[in-house]
Symmetry: C2
Subunit: 367 residues, 2 copies
């Protein structure tokens, strides 16, 4: 997801070695579609300590290709720390000395949480494309069970995320108004526009036309690798910016091809094609305008949280305007909201990159 | 290529029924790579009449997915006229009452000109991927044979084109300085940047990983349809703009999926996957900076033609800046050049759409 080099640093200031845990819910999960699954698992990680009053928890929500591993390393040999390691840790903007940070792999995911590649206990077979349709709201509902039932947290100090994670953060503020103190949404949108839907449709088409997709019925080790890598290569371009690519490759502009192939290959090794289909459909369906009966500010009516919305100048997937309109609608609804726009040339992925300006904003917002 | 509806109009003002012709050259064509083919064909169309002094010819150069059929219809039942019918015709901005308009399918093409799907007379087999590598300069060289040797034109009144056609127009001005009176280049670039190369690489990957591609060795009727349609769907998004898609689909944003699938299917029916690979590689290799030894204005040194460069505000594939820098370099080289920027929301495809402002510019430039 992130092309900025992140080398692990085991000095003070790092969460260091971490391990995931699994929350097994024996209660069914009912989806927006009306379908349900009888039980489910969410894989998650936590960093820092939950205080006695249980009011210092921050939920981090991941983006399309992310997972629960957002900080620290799994072994000392790990060359790559979690995807948001630059911002999460002791003394960092999301300070694990102060906060108890939770991040779960979304429902429908492929990194330990129940999703299309999991076995349906009712049939003994993998769900594949029989897994219920997922919405952003469904992701939030499943996370709610983890936070409230399993971790016993009554109110989150903050829900934070970028891109698909930002959608979840906003939805958290709407769906659990009295359980969320702050919402921090970055590089996101209130509704997928036609261009974003178009790119996702091409990605899904590449996957679903790969003969190895087989209507979604494949072994994880023999999935539609060609289709998934093409989908990823294309999507990866939309996460960057022309200026960023110029900076990265300069005169060696043909190197971008190798770089994309590498991105495609490594994605296939860690991601499931059916989850890609389910998650992109959830993105495409996300529509806070619809939730507000056509009026975005209406969707935010219930929200009580303070919010900070952050757009990035070079993001052309969810451009600044789309972030700005979220903040405007929040203000129109009478909410305590702030909008910040950060000038960075990393495109959509800017939110994942070390940036002093972003760090200061996050620190101030969490004070 | 163009999503703007173009319905044929058989009233005065249309070139009406047209037919293609084939120019067969028995001279070899030597490519920039040093490779050659012993003979070649260019399919072309002409509209209007060549005057006695043979100085009223305009060469129209087509873009990646275009061909020689740029105006008129082939039968009265034809529902779709040539790709630039809106601007070419009697009394239209490219006025066939005044000008003799020539447009040829580029060398390497798949619509009648010699290309990868043509038979190599030396082997009796289709060239497939044994066709020589193509550059924009090679396209221009082959067109030169058509214009000078076959049509007996000594000097072109104008060479005009958008996108890949704009690259050819610029190259014409450089390679045949005393044979070109005017160069009109729209929505183009002096060098493909990393983002454009990246999109092309994903398209080629989709094609080349399709098992039906078979290293390029396939029957035209059994080509890599899946890969080619995915490539086209993705590329088509880059020809439009977010604002244009909003306008087109509005609240029915999910319709964009159907629209793209239609684009993918219809492209597969008319285009050859190997030509797509060769043409996109020619695009990626195009580099007037390189031709000028790193200095764009140096590349334009030989040029004698007057030029008009036109950028479109919503074009994010070859954005206004990239068109502007062509005009600046021309001016720096002491050439008679003008830059115009037109505000339209059709994205890269804006140059194909009816637009009064563009029409006025073209009329004035050709006066």
């Amino acid at each position: 997801m992130n092309d900025a080099a992140q080398t692990p640093d085991f000095s003070a200031g790092e969460v260091g070695l971490v391990r995931f845990e699994d929350f097994h819910s024996n209660n069914p999960l009912v989806f927006d579609s009306g379908a349900s699954i009888p039980q489910f698992t969410l894989r998650y990680e936590t960093y820092g300590r939950l205080n006695k009053t249980r009011d210092n928890a921050i939920l981090v929500c991941h983006a399309l290709s992310g997972d629960h591993h957002c900080a620290g390393v799994h072994t000392f040999e790990d060359r790559k720390p979690g995807w948001w390691n630059n911002i999460i840790g002791p003394g960092k903007p999301i300070d694990t000395n102060r906060f108890f940070v939770v991040c779960s792999n979304c429902i429908g995911g492929c990194q330990g949480s129940t999703g299309p590649s999991s076995v349906d206990p009712l049939t003994g077979q993998a769900y594949h494309m029989n897994f219920p349709e997922i919405t952003i709201r469904d992701m939030v509902r499943a996370q709610g069970a983890l936070i409230f039932e399993h971790l016993g947290i009554e109110k989150l100090a903050c829900v934070v995320g970028g891109s698909m994670g930002g959608m979840q953060a906003l939805q958290w503020g709407i769906d659990f108004p009295d359980k969320v103190e702050r919402v921090l949404a970055l590089a996101t949108t209130a509704r997928q526009n036609a261009q974003a839907i178009a790119f996702n449709e091409v990605g899904r088409t590449a996957i679903m036309q790969d003969p190895d997709w087989n209507e979604g019925d494949y072994e994880r080790s023999h999935g539609p690798a060609v289709g998934l890598s093409v989908a990823r290569m294309m999507a990866h371009i939309t996460y960057l910016s022309d200026a960023g690519l110029q900076r990265k490759f300069g005169k060696n502009r043909f190197e971008v091809a190798k770089y994309l192939h590498y991105q495609g290959r490594s994605f296939v090794n860690r991601f499931d094609a059916n989850t890609y289909i389910y998650f992109t459909r959830a993105l495409d369906r996300f529509d806070l305008y619809g939730q507000g009966g056509g009026e975005l500010s209406q969707a935010f009516e219930p929200m009580q949280a303070r919010s900070l919305i952050v757009g990035f100048t070079s993001d052309w997937l969810f451009p600044p305007e789309q972030n700005r309109e979220i903040a405007y609608a929040l203000l129109k609804a009478g909410k305590n909201a702030t909008y910040a726009e950060i000038e960075m040339d990393y495109g959509h992925d800017s939110f994942l990159v070390s940036a002093p300006e972003l760090y200061e904003l996050v620190r101030a917002f969490l004070k």
